[in-house]
Amino acid sequence: MGDFSAEVISHIDRNYIADLLKRGDRVDGRKFDEYRQLEIEPNPVAAKAEGSAIVRLGGTSVVAGVKVLTGEPYPDTPDEGVVMITAELAPIASPLFEIGPPKEDAIELARVVDRGVRESETVDVKNLCIEEGRKVYMVFADVYPLEYDGNLIDASSIAVNAALLTTRFPEMKLEDNELVETGKMLELPLSNMAIEHTVSKIADHVVIDPILKEEIVQSCRLTMAIDKNDKFTAIQKGGGAGPISIELIEQAMDMALSQTKEIRGLITDTVKEAGV
């Protein structure tokens, strides 16, 4: 999230990182448009969650789990199921996350990841209806950061996508006003698998997948959700109040577009290989 610890880093670091970028180098040696190593562990919570994944993005890691429950639909969408994403800046992940009720940064993480999934209609809620107006499936995907070295948003977005992809749950039907299992197991109706990509603006440069040191000195960040058809489904400027020019926005968009297919492929392949 970046801005909350802006005071812990000295001006020296700030200048050092900016000078490196001017010479084309990042502080950890990556290219400007290069992600850190991405590892996905599908289904680590196989006994209790309907779906789950642990994602490691360099020194950042998160666990996401999915629970599928049943409930009544909202009155204004009687034929649609419900999808909810939450995230929490659990103190286990960083000395920077305080104990207590959700702060602005935590709220933003949850809302940005949620928006990436919901605005993108990653889950087709029309296909989560058991009986119109009476019973629908409710899908809860919850993310917990475990290690924090920058870019929690992308790690969380990847983890939620992977967890949704591993999800299996029993089909239910209404019989005499009671929900009973049909005996069949279902997958979630996933349509377009939007992935979120975050780019930091530092001085006049944009770099993808920032580490913590970069987040601390960033002017702002741009998070873009891109679906499998290369459509942008959500954008959030955050992580600081720095302004950004249209040219840099265009660069950031192109960086994200250049990475999205590979990451989406890695998620799909890993889950498939795991034979979930």
């Binding site: 942008f232 400027k237 109040a241 249209i246 926005i249 968009m253």
Partner: protein, 273 residues
């Protein structure tokens, strides 16, 4: 007890919108400065049926202390919707949505302010949505930057903001409620007129790369017009304040006028660059 229904088409055969506007046409907008006597600065905005008040208090001492910043004032924004401002009654407690919008509004305004002039202080921006009919976060930014100027907070410039969206495949500017709800996407943005840089950018819906860039450009153009409206509102307020009105707060008002003149001058200058 909302009885809204989706309109048959958001763009009609003549290429006009639901409410008769052209795609790049803003709704009727009225901005007024200095509307709340209790505040150090204030402004109201009516944009279509959206109606918002903004009040600024400060710079003043910050409580609690641990939020204090040593090198600049802390800009604290609170965006709140009245329970009756939306079709369904909003619950009185602040929602997560309201808290997130408060944060993006602060980010949108901060680059325009010389907060470094007031280390350890706080500048409070309180925004009350009286009626919400689409585009509230952008309208709130329009009003809040006027309230900041009215409070005499030193500024690089005012900050105009507008939402661009898409309906029936057409890019449209300044979405109304139905266009927001039934359209294909929404891109609220705010602009520093001097440099053309973006200080607020969000998006939902579905846009191609090219659509997005075109939409941002449309928004930046609309913001230029909004900036003129903002400056007009400020000038009207400035004109109304004659020395005769000032009784006890003389000295403060001097300061205020100085700032105001500078700001108006500056913002005029910007457009020329």
């Amino acid at each position: 007890m909302s009885t809204e229904k989706r309109p048959d088409a958001l763009i009609n055969a003549e290429g006009l919108r639901f409410d008769g506007r052209r795609p790049d046409e803003l709704r009727p907008i009225q901005m007024e400065v200095g509307v709340l006597k209790s505040a150090d600065g204030s402004a109201s905005i009516r944009q279509g049926k959206t109606y918002i008040l903004a009040a600024v208090y400060g710079p003043r001492e910050l409580h609690p202390r641990h939020l204090t910043l040593n090198d600049r004032a802390y800009l604290r924004c609170v965006y709140r919707m009245a329970t009756f401002s939306v079709s369904d009654r909003k619950r009185p407690a602040p929602s997560r949505r309201e808290r997130e919008i408060s944060m993006v509004i602060a980010n949108a305004l901060e680059p325009a302010l010389f907060l470094e002039d007031f280390p350890k202080a706080v500048v409070d921006v309180f925004i009350q949505v009286i009626q919400a009919d689409g585009g509230t976060r952008c309208a709130a930014i329009n009003a809040a930057s006027l309230a900041l100027a009215d409070a005499g907070i030193p500024m690089r410039s005012l900050v105009p903001a507008v939402a661009v969206g898409k309906a029936d495949g057409t890019l449209i500017v300044d979405l109304g409620d139905e266009e927001d709800k039934y359209g294909e996407g929404d891109i609220p943005l705010a602009v520093l007129p001097k440099t053309g840089e973006i200080t607020l950018l969000q998006q939902d819906g579905s846009f191609t790369r090219e659509e997005l860039l075109e939409a941002v450009q449309l928004g930046v153009n609309a913001c230029k017009y909004l900036h003129e409206l903002q400056k007009d509102a400020l000038k009207r307020a400035y004109a109304k304040r004659t020395p005769e009105d000032d009784d006890e707060d003389d000295e403060d008002d001097e300061d205020f006028e100085d700032d105001l003149e500078t700001d108006l001058g500056e913002s005029d200058l910007m457009e020329d660059e």
